[in-house]
């Protein structure tokens, strides 16, 4: 575990530390902050009482991972630091999960920022005489969905980064891959409008939500296992 923390610490130190990095960091924060402000302002009390923050938070988590995760291995390869890292005593799992962990942690910090800003906005613009707070269920669902989405995209992103020569190649591939599911989903919604409304009604039931969460959890676990299986020092050098 301490090795994973060591890798995460190094990844954090390097995050946005390049020419123009601070500006990129501010720009990265800008969209989630605006989103949090707008959605919480427009939805009012529902922001804290109903699962309204789930979508913006999951979106922010995915975007944050897309920004960070292509760097993980393609960046090391591009900067010629990968081989030296692999020549250390660090185990495969420590390197892999240290890098993946930082991407997920970064995304969850941004989710926390969104939730905090949303809460402040809701309280300021929709003050009802007492402090508005998230319900425990709302907070749990929001964090769980965001985490599951974050891990999902991070795992896919690391698999792509492992096989990419450059960060640009990894970013472009990941962006393409991440865009495919929403596009397909959108097309299906357009084709099966009525059935989709029925499905949404079903999803409103707690048992359906649980099934969705469990399905996502299973996909995440399978992806992480596949990632672990694919990660071999010798294959990385051959790429």
């Amino acid at each position: 575990m301490s090795d994973i923390m060591t890798v995460m610490r190094k990844e954090r130190q390097m995050l946005f530390r390049y020419r123009g990095g601070r500006m990129r960091f501010v720009l990265t924060l800008l969209s989630p902050l605006l989103l949090a402000f707008y959605v919480s302002w427009s939805s009012g009390v529902r922001w804290v009482e109903q699962p309204v923050p789930v979508f913006p938070c999951a979106l922010v988590a995915v975007l944050a991972v897309i920004i960070v995760v292509p760097e993980t291995f393609a960046g090391e390869r591009e900067r010629h630091t990968l081989e030296t890292l692999l020549a250390t005593r660090l185990g495969d799992a420590s390197i892999l999960f240290g890098k993946l962990g930082l991407a997920v942690a970064f995304s969850m910090i941004l989710v926390g920022v969104v939730l905090t800003l949303g809460l402040i906005t809701a309280n300021i613009f929709h003050w009802q005489g007492e402090l508005l707070l998230y319900t425990a269920q709302n907070l749990t669902v929001t964090f769980t969905v965001s985490l599951l989405m974050s891990v999902l995209v991070a795992a896919v992103g690391v698999i792509i980064s492992l096989g990419s020569e450059t960060v640009q190649e990894a970013t472009q591939t990941l962006a393409g891959v991440v865009l495919v599911p929403p596009i397909i989903l959108g097309m299906l919604v357009l084709i099966f409008r009525r059935k989709f409304v029925y499905m949404l009604m079903l999803a409103g039931r707690p048992i359906s939500g649980l099934v969705v969460l469990l399905t996502f959890t299973l996909i995440d676990v399978l992806l992480l296992a596949e990632l672990r299986r694919r990660f071999h020092r010798s294959r990385l050098l051959l790429d």
Partner: protein, 310 residues
């Protein structure tokens, strides 16, 4: 008797149809400095990767510090320091942050880590610049820092891929002195690859010449010179006529003759006594002003060994 620091037995590595390392068998005793010489693409870097268990052999085996590279890669990497083809430094991080990261990787306790970082940075003359991102540094400074990083955890074996590449004369000399000191006084074993023949000759106890993945010679530098390169006579004078050259050429130990700018150069296939040659020249009417018996350099040996393979 101590086991060798490094032992390979018929080590072979293929990349598709290309055989990068071909039946490499090698023993490097502990506490010695071993140099691996070879042209580009000879397999030096692949050998180092195999020794660090970053690649698995196609066949054969390798042991590093008594550990099997196929089964005990992580233990090997724990005890070995490596400076590879690239410095492997994180350019956005400062020198201190780079060493701190690798110190944490090797689990040096906080106080020991701080002390070791200061000791090494002072030793390589970069302590005052420890807070600068290394991306702004010259190649030589980065190379020195990378060497410091390789030594951070007090390894018992150092694997160095071109350690003085890109260094100026003074810095390269400092690195060589430091390596010699560590081997002689601290009992460290060093395996390095180099293109620099002078460096190889001055620094290494034993040299291996590798070509197309095959080890074509292993010996001490002076014995390599004696056994693998032709001695040569350079005779300054005049009247090196065709008949003189023919007479010399008839001697069986002579391999080639060249006349240019009043100098007759004769190469031999074995150690020779120069007096019969000089006598023969004078008998055939040549004038001899100066005779220089040239000892073959390591470069001559290297060229001879690698050209033989063509």
């Amino acid at each position: 008797m101590r086991p060798p620091a490094l032992r390979t037995e018929a080590l072979t590595r293929d990349f598709g149809a290309i055989r990068a390392i071909d039946s490499l068998s090698l023993d490097v005793p502990q506490g010695t400095l071993f140099g691996l010489l070879g042209p580009n693409g000879a397999g030096k870097t692949t050998t180092i990767r195999l020794l660090l268990a970053l690649l698995q052999p196609t066949s054969g085996r390798a042991e590093v510090l008594g550990l099997d590279t196929q089964k005990e890669g992580q233990q090997i990497r724990t005890r070995v320091g490596a400076l590879l083809e690239h410095t492997g430094l994180y350019e956005q991080l400062t020198a201190e942050e780079n060493l701190d990261f690798f110190g944490r990787v090797w689990k040096l306790p906080h106080a020991a880590r701080r002390a070791r970082i200061e000791e090494l940075l002072r030793e390589i003359g970069l302590w005052d610049r420890r807070a600068e991102p290394v991306g702004k540094w010259s190649k030589g400074m980065r190379q020195r820092l990378a060497l410091a990083r390789a030594l951070l955890h007090h390894p018992t074996l150092l694997l160095l891929d071109e350690p003085t590449a890109g260094l100026d004369v003074v810095a390269a000399s400092q690195v060589r002195e430091a390596l010699t000191r560590m081997v002689r006084h601290d009992g460290l074993t060093v395996v390095l690859t180099t293109h620099n023949m002078l460096e190889a000759e001055r620094l290494c106890d034993t040299l291996g010449v590798i070509r197309r993945g095959r080890l074509v010679a292993v010996d001490q530098p002076d014995r390599l010179r004696a056994n693998h390169a032709a001695p040569c006579l350079e005779i300054r004078g005049g009247n090196f006529s065709t008949s003189v050259q023919e007479a010399i050429r008839l001697r069986e130990e002579v391999t080639s003759i060249d006349v240019s700018n009043g100098t007759l150069t004769i190469e031999f296939d074995r150690p020779i006594d120069s007096s019969p040659i000089v006598r023969l020249l004078i008998e055939h009417g040549a004038s001899v002003q100066e005779v220089l018996k040239r000892t073959p350099s390591l470069e001559d040996v290297f060229l001879a060994l690698t050209e033989d393979e063509e």
